[in-house]
Amino acid sequence: MSEHKQAHVSQFEPSHGTVNSYIIGFASCIVLTVVAYMVATSTTISNTAAIAIIAGLAIVQCVVQLTRFLHLGAEFKPRWKLLVFAGMLIIVLIVVVGSLWIMNNLNYRMLHSSDQLQEYVESQDGL
């Protein structure tokens, strides 16, 4: 009976990690978090560089957690999980990048002073 149970467990998910894999994942996540925190609070790094480094570290940590904790990419073919993940990534990029693009463009066109607006209306020969 216990042998059957063992077979059941091992057949169920081929992609469960080992203790070492979890410890390596955990340790690297701590390092990545602390480094990102130090970059954010440092006064010597410029804003643009800090934002880029924090974004890079977040993506690296995301990949570490997806592979070490969620075992993404460790499944057998056909890799449905990876396929659904890729689809999700495309939608997320469209939503986030699209929103920022459209709204920044809108801000650029709308945020003029009333004087500038008046000038524009007059230059257009009224409305």
Partner: protein, 194 residues
């Protein structure tokens, strides 16, 4: 043997289905992140993130959640080794760390609201509270799930669907930590820099 294989295949389908749910949840969070990114400067004359957020405090929250994600992974390994005592202990540690995280987050919200910086103060704060509280609500659901799972394992042992249910819970919990990486980076760490 074929019955076992059949059951394993069924469990695999459930895991894939749950994974698809998690991916749609990602899209939900993406819309909230997009809203936050658009509203980040809409402070309506009120304070921005740099003035409001206490980074060392949030670092402690982050470490609590990260550690609970790790202990959740150890609980899965304990189940693989059919070690009920270790599994329950790891699940309990995960639960306590998650509870501490929610407590700290609630305290942070309470502080903001009592200082007059609630979600009605500005578009920025509306977006902030919606994004972070949606994650917090997910964590609360996860805590309830861990509690129910723990009690059932304690009372009924490791038989039945325990492996499947523990796998689904661990996926949910790890996923919430992945979302938190981006909340920590985009909302908190970027706040003084944008």
């Amino acid at each position: 043997m074929s019955a076992i294989a059949e059951r394993a295949a069924g469990a695999q389908r459930t895991v894939l289905g749950f994974w698809i749910y998690l991916m749609t949840d990602c899209v939900l969070f993406a819309t909230l992140f997009a809203t936050y990114a658009v509203q980040r400067n809409s402070t309506n004359g009120g304070p921005g993130g740099a003035a409001l957020f206490d980074l060392p405090y949030v670092l402690v929250e982050t470490m609590l959640l990260l550690t609970s994600s790790f202990t959740c992974g150890l609980a899965v390994i304990a189940l693989q080794r059919r070690n009920k005592q270790l599994l329950l202990r790891m699940l309990a540690v995960t639960f306590v760390l998650g509870l501490a995280f929610v407590g700290l987050e609630f305290n942070e919200f309470r502080y903001l609201v009592t200082e007059g910086n609630d979600w009605q103060r500005s578009g920025f704060l509306s977006a902030y509270f919606t994004l972070v509280a949606t994650h917090g609500l997910h964590i609360c659901v996860g805590l309830l799930w861990a509690l129910v799972l723990g009690v059932q394992i304690w009372r009924r042992g490791l038989g039945g669907n325990t492996v499947k249910r523990m796998t689904l819970f661990s996926m949910f919990w790890h996923f919430l930590d992945v979302v938190w990486i981006f909340i920590f980076s985009v909302v908190y760490l970027w706040s003084g820099r944008l």
